[in-house]
Structures are given as C-alpha cells and as structure tokens.
C-alpha cells in the first residue's frame, strides 16, 4: 500500500486534523473486519479480502474519478450511466465484429468526451454541475437502451481472457486483472493529486474558487479537467465491469453514483471540496465491500440491509466530520 505513504504515513505522529476522517474510516474498516473474523471462521481467509477487491474493482476506479470532482466542490451524477454505456458500447462493437484493441480505444474515448462536454457546460455557461451531470446521466442511460434493449453477451477472446485470468499464489488465493488495473489507477490518481500542479489546483479550487482565480490558477481548465478525468475513470470502470460480467446490459449500474458518492464521503472527502484523499476513497470503497461481504456471510440478513447500513454510515460520517469541525456547510 504505497498510497499510505503518500497521504497519511509521514505525518502520522502529528495527526493533523485533516487526517482524522481517513483514520476513523481505517479504524472502522478494521473493526468491521475484526467482527467478521470473530463471527465467521471462513472470514479470515485472505481470499475474502481479494474477493472484496475483485467485486469492487470497477467501483474503486469510478470512486477515484468522483474524488477529483468532489474535491473541486462539484458532483458527477453521470458516472453510473457512463459505466453502463461504456460496457454496452464495447459489447455492441465486439458483437458487430470490430477488433478488441479498437473497441477498447473507442470505449475509453466515450467517457472522457462526455465528461469534457459536461465540464465545458458547467464552466462556460455556469449551470450547476448537479443539473448538467443529471442530463449527462439521462443521456448515457438513454444511449444504452438506444443501442439495445437487451443484454449483449461478450464472447471476444481478449475479454474472456481478462475475465478469467487469475493472478495468484500456489495456495489458491488470486486476484483478477481488473484489480491490478484498479490499483494502477489509484496510484496514478494519488500521485497526480499529491505531487502535480493539477492536483494542487484541484485542492485550491475546492478550497475557495474565487481565491484560486485571484491567485491566477486556471479555474476553467482545471474544472473541465476534473470532469474529463471522472469520465475517463467511469470509462475504465465500464471496461472493468464488462470484464467482470462479460456482457453489456442497459440497466446495469443503476444507482451506482450513490454508492460512489457514499464511498467518497465515508472515505473522508468533504463534499464542499478542498479536503480529502484518494487513500480515504479506497478505504470507503473497502468499507462498502466489507459491509456487503458481512451481510452475505450472515445469510439471514437481506440485501436491503446493505442500503440501510450504508445510509446509517453516511449519516454517522457526515455528523462526525461536522463535529471535528471540518468545513461542512
């Protein structure tokens, strides 16, 4: 976990206030894992953790993109639909016989293009991100059913290989290729946020757009960039999802934007922007994943408890951030 050193590691001893939310999430995650291990014998198996990553790899990638947007104080509601559209388009193009590399390129271009357009609308016409990305969500979801009303299976060799290839140790524990891709995205994003000019601009704009503008930071360029990044992450997420399900379905990933926003908030990113870490988002996604695993292990609880628990956690974390006094309007 080299992301730890990027965010919380070196300043661990001083424990600045802005690290507290991430540490609390970490503590929560450990407690939940501990509960799982103490309750269910099979929970301590390493593969359980790997499975959390395998099942939530695409969510992680999308959440990373969302972190960028939320750090600037915006929001992107279109991610779930863009994920579905990317998976749908790749399935459709593969079905019509295009070669896999070309399909990958096309699928990876759709998300950023849509994100770029939404960013432009938000910046140049000063329409609220909420409304613009809502329109983007409608558009992408409509495109899905426009392509096909039914689910399209993927039989392409490259896709099935990526889906079934297992990277693991001799004892049988394994991760899928998607997990490695997700980790790569996380590392790149953490580097960009912490060590590049773009990352600094993102934090500055989220902190106070007016001061950032007065300081001469490129407000428009950064704002458009974050929506493009979010679009790219959604596109990668869509590809990972199509690896995972080996199909494109028009109604997949409905409501995913809520899970993603919940993961980002639980990970300690403040929704008014300016504070938060990629590492926190990783933890947030893991918390959601472990909740699902716990509920699956329990067996007697029904799936809707997941939503109630996530809602409860959201509430607890927002309340907590307010209590420790992080700027939260």
């Amino acid at each position: 976990m080299s992301t730890t050193s990027l965010t919380a590691g070196p300043r661990w001893a001083r424990l600045p206030r802005r690290h507290v939310p991430v540490l609390v999430t970490l503590a929560l995650l450990l407690v939940m894992y501990g509960v799982g291990v103490s309750q269910y014998r099979a929970f301590s198996n390493v593969q359980v953790i790997f499975n959390v990553f395998i099942d939530n790899g695409f969510l992680l990638v999308v959440a990373v993109g969302m972190t960028f947007v939320i750090l600037t104080g915006g929001i992107d509601l279109s991610v779930g639909s863009v994920v579905a559209m990317t998976a749908m388009v790749s399935a459709w193009l593969l079905q019509s016989g295009l070669p896999a590399p070309l399909v990958l390129v096309i699928a990876l271009l759709i998300g950023p293009t849509l994100g770029f357009l939404m960013g432009c609308a938000i910046h140049f016409f000063e329409i609220q991100p909420f409304i613009v990305t809502l329109a983007g969500m409608f558009f992408a979801r409509g495109m899905c059913t426009f392509i096909s009303g039914a689910s399209i299976p993927i039989t392409d060799g490259f896709w099935t290989t990526m889906s079934q290839y297992r990277i693991g140790d001799p004892r049988g524990n394994f991760v899928s290729v998607s997990v490695l891709i997700a980790f790569a995205v996380v590392l790149v994003a953490a580097y960009v946020l912490a060590y590049t000019r773009l990352g600094r601009n993102v934090y500055a704009i989220g902190g106070n757009p007016q001061s950032a503008l007065l300081m001469g930071l490129p407000l428009g360029r950064t704002r458009i960039a974050v929506y493009t990044i979010s679009g790219l992450c959604s596109a990668i997420g869509g590809i990972l999802l199509s690896f995972y399900t080996l199909s494109g379905a028009p109604l997949i990933a409905i409501g995913m934007e809520l899970d993603v926003i919940a993961a980002v908030v639980i990970g300690g990113t403040v929704l008014t922007g300016g504070a938060g870490y990629i590492f926190g988002t990783v933890l947030g996604v893991l918390v959601l994943g472990v909740i699902q695993t716990l509920i699956t292990f329990d067996g007697s609880l029904n799936s809707w408890w997941t939503k109630i628990v996530i809602g409860g956690l959201l509430f607890a974390f927002i309340l907590f951030q307010r209590l420790i006094g992080i700027r939260y309007k």
């Binding site: 939320i70 104080g73 915006g74 929001i75 609308a121 140049f124 016409f125 000063e126 329409i127 609220q128 991100p129 909420f130 409304i131 613009v132 809502l134 329109a135 983007g136 409608f138 558009f139 979801r141 409509g142 495109m143 899905c144 059913t145 426009f146 009303g149 757009p209 007016q210 028009p250 109604l251 809520l258 926003i261 919940a262 908030v265 929704l271 008014t272 922007g273 029904n302 799936s303 809707w304 408890w305 997941t306 939503k307 109630i308 996530i310 809602g311 409860g312 959201l314 509430f315 927002i318 309340l319 307010r322 939260y328 309007k329």
Partner: protein, 354 residues
C-alpha cells in the same frame, strides 16, 4: 407590436409554455387524434386527460420540491419517501380483513402520512439544526429509504385489492380523474398559503440569505425545517397515487427517479436552484411538459428508457436558455456589443453545487 412580442418573450413562463405548445402541436400532427377527448360512461377519456392524470404525482412532488429549492436546498429523498409511504399504506391494507373498508384505508393513509412526517422532520433536522448540506442530508435518506421501503415490504411486491385506495389513483370525480383534483387542491393550498400570506416571501427571503433573514427576525431554521416536512408530505401523497395506480407497492421501483423529474420540473418552471425565488405555476407547467414528453415518447413506440435521451436534450436546452452566461453570450452575438457582466455571484455556486 414588436414591443408586445418582446414583453411576452421576456415573461418567465414564455419558454415553458412555448415548449409545451410545440410538443402538443407536434403530437397532433403526428397523430391527429391526440387531442381528442371523449365521454365514456360519464367519464372523460383521452390522451390529454391521461397526461393530466399521470402528471398528478409529479406535480405533487414538484410542489414540495419547489419550496425546498426556493430555500436554496434540495430534497433527493422524495422518491424513497414515495416508496416508503406507498409500502406502509399497502402493507396495512393488505393485512386488513376487509380491504374495502374506508376506515382501514384511512388508517393506512394516516399511518403512512405519519411516517412521511417523521422522515421529513428527519431531513429538516439534519439541514436546519445540524446544518448539513441539503444534498447530502437528503442523500442519506435517499439511499437508506429504499432499503427501508424494502424492509417494510420484505422485498416482496405487496398487491392489494382495495376499492377506496384504488380510487386515489384511478377514481373519477365530476367526470375527471380524482388524482387531478388532489394535485390541483394541493397546488391551490400551497399557492394560497404562500402567495396570500407572507409565508412565501419569508421562504424566499430565507433562500436569498438565511442569516440576514434570521437577523431580520425570521425564524430561518424553522422555515427550512418546515419546507422539508411539506416536501415529504407531498411525496407521500404522490406515493399513494403511484401505488394506487397499480394497486401494488414495490419498494424497489415505486417513485424511482421521481426526484430527478421533480427537480427538472422545478428548473424548467424557472425556479433557480440557487434559491430565493419560486414559481409554482412554472413548476406545474414543468411537470406537465415532462409528462407530455414521456407520453409522446410512449406514443411513438420508443422504449421508456430511451425517453431519457429526449429528457437529456430538454434539460440541457432549458438550462442553457435560462443560464445567464449563455443568454449574455447570445445577446452579445446578436447585438454585437459587450453585455453587462453576468450577475452570477460566487455565493450561488458555492451553496448549490454538490
């Protein structure tokens, strides 16, 4: 003549009305029988009546949403509240021995309304007392509410066979569907309470500047609390209609995405998401536009999901027309002189986004 046209063009309801008229005209050209209304069995039937009936729940939800948005907030939880209230009412009715007993139905409605009041109060406390951003505060209930609705229905679709309850969605009164009267009644009530008393102005002033309103002697916190409760009650009544329409409660799908449609209706109606102003008539028009669009798309044999494409186009078009920056750009191009700098204070963006 030109002057009069300009006045009409600048009226805030001009564009919504124009869009609605264009849509109705296009429909009539596509299908000449579109506007036909016939009397059958003492009831009026026809596509326009259908549009009115089906838009009733959306009008209700959008009414509450208008008030919330005018205080500078937003309520994402209305869809979940629709599902919960519908589920509670249907659960109570389905457990009764005689489902047609009016007392049972009234008890069910009262229970569901009580639950909605509690949920609205929860939202209101989060926003006004604890001071959480509205979009997040209501997001909590939006996520958890779906789970709660499924908890009530135990993951099943509860079907009921209750005449009085069915009437809420499908009944008739004075040849017109009852749902229209319920929506109209709610709209008139809200309009009377806000526009015939100082309440509307107070809500607008809280939306304009909460702190300044408080210093001017308005109980801002209480106003904010109130609008979320009203929104929840409106959503609950809409939830009754939705479930009554199909005589069943589905925790997963009842009221799905109604919050987005409602926000859309409010925005189309000219109410700014920044708060400080609200137009009930615009909201009702917006809801009618959305329902007409949906009906149009159905009538053209396009799948409901693809209808979202058209919705996206309408949202963007309406938002662009209403965006000050876009108007300024357009005006500059038309007149060829620099516009007055668009007055969009930073405060708006900070409060409303995210």
């Amino acid at each position: 003549m030109n002057e009069r046209f300009k006045t009409a063009l600048s009226h805030r309801l001009f564009w919504p009305v124009a869009v609605l008229v264009v849509m109705l005209a296009a429909n009539t050209i596509y299908r000449p029988g579109f506007l036909a209304v016939e009397v059958n069995n003492g009831h009026l039937y026809g596509t326009p009546i259908d549009i009115l009936r089906l838009s009733a729940p959306l009008i209700l939800v959008a009414l509450g949403m208008t008030l919330v948005i005018s205080t500078g907030g937003i309520d994402l939880s209305v869809g979940s509240i629709c599902a919960i209230s519908g589920a509670i009412a249907c659960l109570h009715i389905s457990q009764a021995a005689d489902q047609n007993n009016p007392v049972t139905v009234f008890t069910a409605l009262a229970m569901a309304l009580g639950a909605a009041l509690a949920l609205g109060a929860w939202n209101g406390v989060l926003v006004s007392v604890i001071g959480i951003q509205p979009i997040i505060a209501t997001l909590i209930l939006m996520v958890a509410g779906r789970g709660l609705a499924q908890l009530v229905t135990e993951g099943q679709i509860i079907t009921i066979n209750s005449g009085p309850y069915r009437a809420i969605g499908l009944g008739h009164f004075l040849t017109l569907p009852l749902a229209i009267f319920i929506a109209l009644g709610a709209a008139l009530l809200v309009a009377a309470l806000t526009r015939r008393t100082a309440l509307g102005m107070i809500i607008e002033s809280v939306g304009g500047n909460r702190e300044a309103s408080r210093l001017a002697g308005i109980r801002s916190g209480r106003m904010v609390f109130l609008v979320y409760v009203v929104s929840a009650v409106c959503a609950a009544i809409a939830g009754f209609m939705m479930t009554a329409n199909v005589s069943s409660a589905d925790g997963n799908n009842a009221g799905l995405w109604v919050e987005l449609d409602a926000i859309l209706a409010v925005v189309i109606g000219g109410t700014s998401l920044a708060g400080g102003r609200f137009y009930l008539s615009g909201t009702i028009l917006g809801a009618l536009i959305i329902q007409t669009l949906t009906t149009t798309v159905y009538a053209m044999n396009i799948s409901p999901q693809t209808a979202l494409l058209f919705k996206a186009v309408v949202v963007i078009a309406v938002c662009l027309i209403q965006a000050p920056a876009f108007r300024a750009r357009l005006a500059r191009r038309r007149r060829g002189n620099p516009p007055p700098s668009a007055p969009t204070p930073q405060r708006q963006k900070e409060e409303v986004t995210a």
